[in-house]
């Protein structure tokens, strides 16, 4: 076998072994348990295949919500980071405000937000952005503040303007941190979306989870949980790919390993 084949086998064997081990353990456990408590893998797969259309619809709704929440949170987070790094009063206001806002649990904020603005997708996007703003803000502030002194000195020695310094040095140097915040935000956007949908009981994967649970369709509930897990991994993966693209594009060491 080729070296590439060996490497592939080496890389795939551990996760496949874990997958098979979990599948066998799950099947054995499910064989002795009532299906309402623990359905077997085939029942879960069957639940997914029986109503694939419903899962696709739910994924579409959740994707819009999570992507919207991530985009809004990233935009607000970056803006807050710029304000915080750009001025002393900004720094004094932004960080405590962002931390304080994030400490309040989403489940505590949500009922008020829904009461004021309704329960539609735009409102859920706003709610998700509450979760995603925090990591992007904090990581971006760290990144913007940690520009190597030698770079700044070099730009200073040639009389570069503040804007030029920001655009050509500070921002690219901050990208690895910004993307670290974005990746964390991507995972949180999925969590926030599911919570928001569970609280509103309207559409998406969270709505599917509630519906399946309420009517004791446990196999379908498991299928939703697996779809959510895969959905979260994909969302994180997209953010990681964006990081790879950006770091190649600007030649920055993104530390994405």
């Amino acid at each position: 076998m080729s070296v590439a084949g060996d490497r592939l086998r080496e890389r795939l064997t551990p996760p496949l072994a874990v997958f098979v081990f979990v599948l066998v353990g799950w099947s054995l456990a499910a064989a002795g348990a009532p299906p309402i408590l623990l359905p077997g893998p085939t029942a879960v797969l069957d639940a997914f295949l029986t109503d694939t259309g419903a899962f696709v619809d739910a994924i579409a709704v959740s994707t819009v919500t999570a992507a919207g929440g991530l985009a809004l949170g990233a935009a607000v987070g970056l803006m807050l980071a710029f304000v915080s790094v750009g001025s002393t009063p900004g720094r004094a206001v932004v960080e405590p405000a962002v931390v304080g806002f994030r400490i309040a649990p989403l489940t505590a904020i949500a009922p008020l937000v829904f009461l004021w603005f309704g329960t539609g997708i735009p409102v859920r996007i706003v709610l998700v952005s509450v979760m995603t703003t925090f990591p992007v803000t904090v990581a971006s502030i760290d990144g913007l503040r940690s520009t190597p002194r030698s770079y700044l000195d070099l730009l200073g020695s040639v009389g570069a303007s503040e804007w030029l310094t920001f655009r050509t040095v500070r921002l690219p140097a901050a990208l690895p941190s910004v993307f670290a915040g974005l990746k964390l935000g991507a995972a949180l956007s999925v969590t926030g979306t599911i919570v928001a949908e569970l609280l509103t009981l309207r559409g998406g994967l969270g709505g599917g989870v509630w519906d399946a649970g309420r009517y004791a369709r446990t196999a379908e509930l498991f299928a939703y949980l697996f779809v959510i897990a895969v959905f979260g991994v994909l969302f994180y993966g997209v953010a990681a790919l964006a990081e790879q693209y950006a770091t190649r594009r600007w030649g920055i060491d993104g530390g994405s390993n």
């Binding site: 348990a33 309402i36 609280l199 009981l201 369709r217």
Partner: protein
């Protein structure tokens, strides 16, 4: 219907029971002939609907009838309480008929041993402000918007609208968990909910009118459930629990203040909404615990029709496996010779 797991569980329990009895007999353990200790899991956090259990415990009725209810545990929905009773983690549970059908259908056997609420708590209600007048007749709902929360409430509201012949003329909208607030805000003309929602709306200053869903759609509210295996092995304990509960319900009906006292003493946080809890209990006692079956047979008596109604509604809602209705309820443990069961309506004033 008994699953393999239930049979296994029952045999294990029987072995443990036999072993314990043998050990107790050999060693002469003091108290081995005392009342059996059991726990009761509620369907939700304690509230005015749970007054009978607290009253019975506080007045010592359970102990007098031969059972010691050591703990009344707040619950997290009728689905969870039905499953906990079926699994034997709590001997008894307050749950709902739909969850008894679904839990048993899903392989965890649980059986209703008494119907505390002969009529479901569901109502269609509105405020004079939202409805633009008094709601007295279901025909007035034609052309209106009716909001409901999810699940059984929505199913029963829809069935009610069908029964009264206005389903096609009503716009049903999903109001999630904010049904009361949406009615108060006038965003919907009326709402399907439970009578506790109507009481909430009244306590927020509105003039509220309600239509009782059970008047058209036979369905139970709270039922008391246990695992069939537990009931078969402990028939006297089950009967004793039901006798104590019936007596508690009768006592609290005649002494609503004392009943609510028992609830509040056990759950201090309810003191802040004491009046609301009392209103809830009095509505339950006067409109939902009694009914034709109770007058004819006694407190807690089941009949088949409400089970069939709910089973059909679940099946049409594409729910999980629904158990055959004849497997999920029994009147076997209702001691109709006991005055607070057989002559319940004569015991309340």
């Amino acid at each position: 219907m008994l699953t393999d797991m239930s049979r296994t569980r029952r045999s294990v329990l029987a072995s443990i029971g036999a072993g314990t009895a043998l050990t107790a007999g050999c060693l002469g353990v003091p108290g081995s002939d005392e009342n059996q200790r059991v726990s009761l899991m509620l369907n939700w956090t304690p509230n005015g609907l749970h007054v009978p259990y607290y009253a019975a415990k506080a007045q010592g009725f359970y102990a007098e009838e031969g059972v010691e209810v050591t703990e009344i545990v707040g619950g997290d929905g009728s689905d969870a309480s039905a499953r906990q009773a079926g699994l034997g983690n709590n001997e008894f549970a307050v749950t709902s008929s739909d969850q008894v059908l679904l839990t048993t259908g899903g392989g965890v056997d649980v059986q209703s041993i008494g119907a505390m609420m002969q009529q479901s708590a569901n109502v269609v209600f509105s405020t004079r402000e939202a409805f633009g007048g008094e709601l007295t007749d279901p025909q007035q709902l034609a052309g209106k918007t009716v909001g409901t929360g999810p699940g059984m409430v929505r199913m029963l509201t829809e069935l009610y609208l069908q029964e009264v012949g206005v389903r096609e003329d009503v716009e049903l909208v999903d109001t999630g968990y904010e049904t009361v607030q949406r009615v108060l805000a006038g965003e919907v003309d009326a709402a399907g909910g439970v009578f506790g929602d109507a009481i909430d709306a009244r306590y927020q200053g509105a003039t509220v009118d309600s239509l009782n869903v059970a008047a058209e759609v036979p369905s139970y509210g709270h039922v008391l459930a246990t695992a069939p295996s537990f009931a078969e092995e402990n028939p006297e304990t089950v009967s004793a629990f039901l006798r104590g509960t019936a007596r508690g319900a009768a006592w609290a009906t005649n002494n609503p203040e004392g009943g609510v006292d028992a609830l509040v003493e056990a759950n201090e946080s309810i003191s802040e909404v004491r009046e609301q809890a009392r209103d809830t209990w009095e509505t339950l006692a006067s409109d939902h615990i009694v009914g034709p079956a109770v007058e004819e047979h006694g407190w807690g008596w089941h009949e088949s029709e409400p089970w069939t109604t709910v089973a059909e509604a679940l099946e049409s809602a594409d729910s999980g496996q629904v158990a055959p209705t004849e497997d999920v309820w029994t009147n076997e443990y209702l001691d109709t010779e006991f005055e607070y069961i057989g002559s319940y309506t004569n015991q309340i004033s």
